[in-house]
């Protein structure tokens, strides 16, 4: 067990180190602005005095590494500083919105993951069947269509033509769960469609790779029933690749949500990030980027660790 623990610890260290480097990049990128934040906010025409006052107010005169550590310490405790555009605390601006974003991504994942894994396995089992071929062509469509194309088609059909679901997903804090699920159905469907086919295809490929291995042939030659070969001999060995597929797609959902939020005017983190980029509200951009990047890195980290645990060779060392 010690070997696997040290591998996991090592991976964990690499993951945290990466996260650390990424915070430096996110913080440092803003420092590359021509001029500084003060001139950026107050404009080129601002007087030296007002610039200095601004710098004083936001502690911009302190050395870079001090400001970085202060920012990082704040970020860890949930305090991201103050928005340059409207002077309000960022945590207040993005708190509820981040929750909305995770809700939407989780909603889509809850639909997409079970469907994708089950149908991916079925496609592998009935390799070459009509179902399998339908799957391949739908994958092509899913990776070729821009997110907004899928979104507008869904809106056109389910909202404009049929009137079943609202085209704007404007949820409020007070909404109950049922109301929320109803209002965010179309964005969740869009996200699901985007990742579903891809996830199915990867699950299918993982299983198919496995089915070509000698020990699977051996299980057939031992006279095992077909379902037993799949469920008992193939599946435990397919766990690691399937976990990876799921995590990869969850990570993608977290990011893909940005576009979908804009299409459906959903009050999420992606929406605010896009607005902040247009307004060059750098502190908000920093905060939103950090949340997205950290989630993405942590999901990948989790996937790696789970697939290390699922590997029998590492689990039972010599």
């Amino acid at each position: 067990m010690n070997a696997i623990l040290s591998i996991i610890l090592k991976r964990l260290m690499v993951g945290l180190l990466t996260l650390f480097v990424v915070t430096i990049i996110i913080f440092g990128a803003i420092e590359m602005l021509p001029g500084d934040i003060a001139t950026e906010v107050l404009g080129q025409a601002a007087t030296e005095e007002s610039l200095n006052a601004f710098r004083e107010k936001y502690d911009l005169n302190r050395p870079l590494h001090v400001r970085y550590l202060a920012w990082l310490g704040g970020a860890v405790t949930g305090d991201f500083g103050i928005s340059l555009a409207n002077q309000r605390p960022i945590s207040e601006l993005i708190g509820q919105r981040a929750a909305n974003t995770f809700f939407l991504a989780g909603y889509a994942a809850a639909i997409a993951v079970p469907i994708a894994v089950v149908s991916g396995m079925l496609a592998a089992l009935y390799n070459g069947s009509v179902f399998d071929r339908m799957l391949s062509s739908s994958t092509l469509a899913a990776i070729s269509f821009p997110e907004f194309f899928i979104a507008y088609i869904l809106i056109l059909i389910f909202s404009v033509a049929l009137g079943w679901f609202p085209s704007l997903a404007n949820v409020d804090v007070g909404d109950g769960l049922g109301e929320r699920l109803y209002r965010t159905f179309l964005p969740a469907m869009t996200l699901t469609l985007i990742v579903l086919a891809y996830m199915m295809r990867m699950t299918r490929a993982a299983i198919l790779n496995l089915l070509a291995l000698p020990y699977i042939e051996m299980a057939h030659l031992k006279g095992m029933k077909r379902w037993r070969v799949i469920a008992v001999h193939a599946l435990p060995n397919a766990l690691a690749p399937i976990i990876n597929v799921i995590a990869l797609n969850l990570a993608y959902l977290i990011v893909g949500v940005v576009l979908v939020e804009v299409v459906f005017v959903y009050p999420g983190l992606g929406q605010i990030l896009v607005d902040a980029v247009s307004n060059r509200d750098v502190t908000v951009v920093q905060a939103a980027c950090l949340i997205f990047a950290a989630t993405y890195i942590l999901l990948n980290l989790l996937a790696d660790i789970l697939s290390i645990i699922a590997n029998p060779r590492l689990l039972h060392p010599r």
């Binding site: 070509a212 291995l213 000698p214 020990y215 042939e217 051996m218 299980a219 057939h220 030659l221 031992k222 006279g223 095992m224 029933k225 077909r226 037993r228 001999h233 435990p236 060995n237 029998p312 060779r313 039972h316 010599r318």
Partner: protein, 545 residues
């Protein structure tokens, strides 16, 4: 032996490639009685594995049995429903694969994989199967039979796994076992024990078997009858002893004759010329792992030295050190009296030119996108500065030298050559540099025996004509017997023994040399029996952890 167990008649099997069905087996018959062992031999592409699997009513993906009848114990298997076949497989016909490491599921303990068959076929309860497994593990002479089953496949060595797989095949006490090259991937000293274990257990339970191999000496030990296949056709079939002593067909005779090749004594060298290569006190390591330890070796001009050893003995590493691909941590190599810089990067092109190497796998040693003209032309241009017509003429000369028609071959890609032809091109590429010393790293071990013999004869002829010096790395003692002047035996990165061929091959031997030499199967059908008799007095079963 009148009870017919398996009756395959007029079997035709096809495989699909490039959108066409291509024949693999063309109308072969195969009959097997209870308790009988049939040896199925042939070179690669003979279809022996395909035929063996067909005996289970099974074909690999992309293959089909297009015609014929397979009756097992009176029951027709061609066209039988999946469930009928499934109930036979594992229970009454079992399979032992070539690579046990790949054929065991990495996620389960050996004993659980053993028990799966008997439980699911309703032969035994789990408790019965477990105690039965331990019994069989003991019979097949696995170390620690009580607990080895509770290990995972990757925790057990290759030779042990192969025996565990034989035990697993035996778990339902089948009437027939198909052995598909079960010892091909093993070293000779390990092979012996697996062969003995297989033979004993099959005899004890009077199980019929089809033993598939390309190794004549192995099949001689195992089989009652031998069937020879060539490109999907049956060449001949006869009882083992009769087949070994008096083969009828030309093809079989040529297979048998391969082992007879012996090179003539080397040319006497002119007086006053020192040794060509002197290796002194070489020690080398991959990172912290020491792979060569204090190697001292002198290679006389115009001779062939064979380096013999099993996998992990360091023999290929020695070649890499001489070529300058792995700089040694200690020691010196002199070529023709001048010390060679340790790394190939420090050596001048002229030094590099004199020492050439030929790899084991001609497939990966030739750039698939380069035509023969380019492959052979580059060293001519690089080392000798040949250009244009002179280069073209020399390429043609080289092709003639290796017995390939220049007009036919000069514009071909490697993918348009056979295995033997590819190896010839590699030889020509080495010759293009006009070397004095050539390292041959297992150059014949990936080839069929007949083709390999052709390569050995070619190398021998070239040596005579061009006064070349060879270092021949091999694990195959038959090759050593045919081509070596002096022999170096290596084990675990050190030299165990060295001397002239006669010295090494005649007693007294060092213990390891003795073990190695005695483990090489011979064509004599009684060889294994006699050997085991001898050894049972001296040695206990040896197996690495």
């Amino acid at each position: 032996m009148t009870d017919l167990l398996l009756d395959m008649t007029d079997i035709w099997i096809e495989g699909r490639s490039e959108r066409r069905w291509k024949p693999i087996i063309n109308g072969v018959d195969l009959k097997l009685h209870r308790g009988e062992i049939l040896g199925l031999i042939g070179e690669s592409g003979a279809g022996k594995s395909t035929l063996g699997l067909a005996a289970m009513g099974y074909t690999k993906g992309g293959c089909r049995i297009s015609r014929g009848s397979i009756r097992f114990d009176g029951q027709e298997m061609v066209g039988a429903p999946h469930n009928t076949l499934r109930k036979l497989r594992g229970a009454r016909i079992a399979y032992v694969a070539q690579s046990a490491a790949a054929a065991f599921n990495p996620a389960y303990k050996l004993i659980d994989q053993y028990c799966e068959g008997p439980i699911k076929h309703g032969v035994m309860s789990r408790a019965e199967a477990q105690s039965d497994a331990v019994d069989l593990y003991r019979k097949i002479r696995l170390p620690n039979p009580d607990e080895i089953g509770f290990r995972y496949p990757h925790q057990v060595s290759g030779g042990q796994l192969q025996r565990a797989m034989t035990a697993m095949a035996m778990s339902c006490r089948p009437d027939l076992i198909i052995f598909d090259e079960p010892t091909t991937a093993l070293d000779v000293t390990t092979q012996i024990e697996v062969l003995a274990a297989i033979r004993d257990i099959v005899r004890e339970y009077n199980t019929a078997a089809i033993y598939i191999t390309h190794d004549l000496a192995v099949v001689a030990q195992m089989a009652d009858r031998i069937k020879v296949l060539l490109r999907g056709d049956e060449v001949e079939e006869a009882p083992a002893r009769q087949m070994l002593s008096a083969p009828q067909e030309d093809y079989t005779k040529s297979l048998w004759a391969v082992r007879e090749f012996r090179r003539e004594a080397p040319l006497p060298q002119a007086e006053g010329t020192g040794p060509l290569v002197e290796i002194a006190d070489i020690t080398a390591a991959y990172g912290p792992v020491r792979v060569l330890h204090k190697i001292d070796l002198t290679i006389p001009r115009g001779s062939t030295v064979a380096i013999v050893g099993e996998s992990g003995s360091g023999k290929s590493t020695l070649a890499r050190v001489i070529m300058g691909l792995l700089p040694p941590s200690k020691g010196q190599i002199k070529f023709d009296g001048t010390p060679l810089p340790k790394s190939s990067r420090q050596r001048t092109p002229d030094l590099q030119r004199h020492v050439q190497m030929i790899h084991q796998m001609a497939d990966t040693a030739l750039n698939p996108k380069h035509r023969i003209r380019e492959t052979l032309g580059r060293p001519l241009e690089f080392f000798l500065g040949l250009k244009g017509k002179a280069k073209e003429a020399r390429i043609r000369e080289l092709l003639t030298l290796i017995e390939l028609d220049p007009d036919e071959f000069i514009d071909r890609l490697p993918s348009e050559l056979s295995g033997g032809q590819k190896q010839r091109i590699c030889i020509a590429r080495a010759l293009a540099a006009e070397p004095e010393f050539i390292i041959c790293d297992e150059v014949t071990s990936a080839l069929d025996q007949l083709v390999a013999e052709g390569i050995l004869r070619l190398l021998d002829r070239l040596q005579r004509e061009m006064n070349l010096t060879y270092m021949f790395i091999t694990h195959d003692l038959a090759t050593v017997r045919s081509i070596a002047d002096t022999v170096v035996v290596m084990q675990n990165g050190a030299i165990v023994e060295q001397g002239t061929k006669d010295e090494i091959f005649s007693p007294p031997h060092k213990p390891y040399t003795e073990l190695l030499l005695s483990s090489v199967p011979e064509m004599d059908p009684d060889w294994l029996t006699n050997l085991l008799q001898e050894r049972s007095d001296i040695l206990s079963p040896k197996d690495e952890p």
